[in-house]
């Protein structure tokens, strides 16, 4: 299994604040990877760097082995098939559901966008389908999270990076989002979740990476005893 996305020696600071230090990471093609860690560990920064949304201070991002670091900082890697769903969802609240989804395929010909729109609506919950012309802000939290996944799918990405999908959602809604992500993974999409809450991620992911204080402290399988020990140390100390 070759790596779709890889980080090589990634380091980053925000105004002097250490965010990431020497991150080495391979995301294998077609897998479901969970990057776990407490808040402030550097997960969001890593998500944005891997998706090319911000340029790392140090290191390289490889997409199928090719160095794409130079492309980072503007529109990211969305045109290369890497979609980012940022923390807090960042839907366009004042725009309609339809407009939000259409923007996911921004730059594609109208026919392509409309064809994709139909496919994506099929994956959306009833309330989203019924509310095509409602402002996105009027949807519930769970519907908004589904919609933002839909917006990413409109780009027909090879990889989806999703930051804290469980944030602010009741467990039952989080489960629905994860079911959708697992379905995508079965369809061949590479999925990477960046999570603070380990529950759902442990249930759906193929592999786990624990990140703490800007560094990777553990990598392993889901059911390993070592994974649980690593999580416990990472979150609650010794």
């Amino acid at each position: 299994m070759s790596a779709l996305l890889a980080a090589r020696g990634i380091g980053h600071r925000y105004q002097g604040v250490l965010a990431l230090n020497d991150i080495e990471l391979d995301v294998p093609k077609g897998t479901f990877m969970a990057i776990l860690g407490p808040n402030g560990a550097g997960k969001s920064t890593l998500a944005q760097i891997l998706a090319g949304a911000i340029r790392p201070a140090k290191g390289q991002i490889l997409l199928e082995g090719a160095d794409v670091t130079a492309r980072a900082g503007r529109q990211g890697l969305i045109r290369n098939g890497v979609a980012l769903i940022p923390e807090g969802r960042r839907l366009f609240g004042q725009l309609t559901v339809d407009e939000n989804l259409m923007l996911g395929a921004y730059g594609q010909p109208r026919a392509v966008r409309e064809a994709r729109l139909e496919k994506v609506y099929a994956l959306m919950p009833e309330a989203v389908r019924q509310g095509k012309h409602r402002a996105a802000v009027t949807l519930s939290g769970g519907e908004q999270q589904m919609l933002v996944v839909g917006r990413a799918l409109m780009a027909e990405p090879r990889a989806i990076l999703i930051d804290e999908p469980s944030l602010g959602l009741a467990p039952i809604l989080t489960a629905k989002v994860y079911d959708l992500l697992s379905g995508l993974r079965r369809g061949g999409v590479t999925v990477v979740v960046f999570e603070q809450l380990a529950t759902h991620a442990l249930r759906h992911a193929d592999s786990i990476v624990v990140i703490n204080q800007g560094e990777i402290s553990f990598r392993g399988g889901v059911d390993d005893e070592a994974t649980h020990e690593a999580l416990r140390t990472g979150y609650l100390g010794h």
């Binding site: 998706a51 503007r74 529109q75 045109r79 923007l103 921004y106």
Partner: protein, 291 residues
Amino acid sequence: MHDLLPVIAAGIVSGSAYALLALGIVIIFRSTDTVNFAIGDMATLGVYIAVTAIGFGVPVAGGLLIAIVVAGGTGVLTERFLIRPLGAGHKSLFIALVVTIGLGLVIHAALGAIWGHRPTTIPAIIPGTASVFGVALTWNKIVATGIALAAMALVAWFFRFTPMGVAMRASAEDHFAARIVGINPGRIAAIAWFLGCGLAAIAAFFLAMDTSVNANLTLAALFRAFAGVFLGGLTSMPGAAIGGFAIGILDNLAGRYLSANYRDTIVFAVIVAVLFVRPSGFLGAGRKERV
């Protein structure tokens, strides 16, 4: 009160210029957080070049097009080379405004130096007058108002229905999210500045047709446009258009029923009152400034 209707009609006619300028100011602010104080001077520059072209035999309608393209192009260049290098962040908000003040001074000075201070005129598109609600209006003004309304309708259509227009609304709401769905912020900024300055050029062109072409063509109208922007809020496009018309009507009402001498005073009193009562305007989205 039998002459209320004509006063309102006159208000809508003069308000259309304010509304266009106000809309231009708001479109530019929404895209790049910059209050463009040079918008009037850029529009006037467009009109001067248009007048020169008309002097060489270009038809008046072609002149209008030239004015739009020149002002819009100046806007695009300004954003690219003067505003973008300042960077983002709330500290540069006022700096960007001061840069446009400086640019306005430069353009204003250049207009005087190149074309001199002798006013010239633009021939009317359709000469003569017509009677609207019992008030005599030149055909010029009627056509100007019609074109202004059409331009605003076109802008509304553009933002509502075209992918680029939707992308611009998305970008105004959330720069970062717009970027990661693949919207190019540089292109959004360029289009916004072109549109904003182009709309201002339409206003300036008709103001010039009404009076004469001079370097202070848009000065009085621009202050009223700002009053309209305050009424509607810096972030609302419909608010700006409605605010511009409202100021036009208010201006005419004040002139007719209170005192022609105190027209300006009343308009400025309205600005100050609105700012104190409701700093975000009546349709604005709160004190939104990105950090």
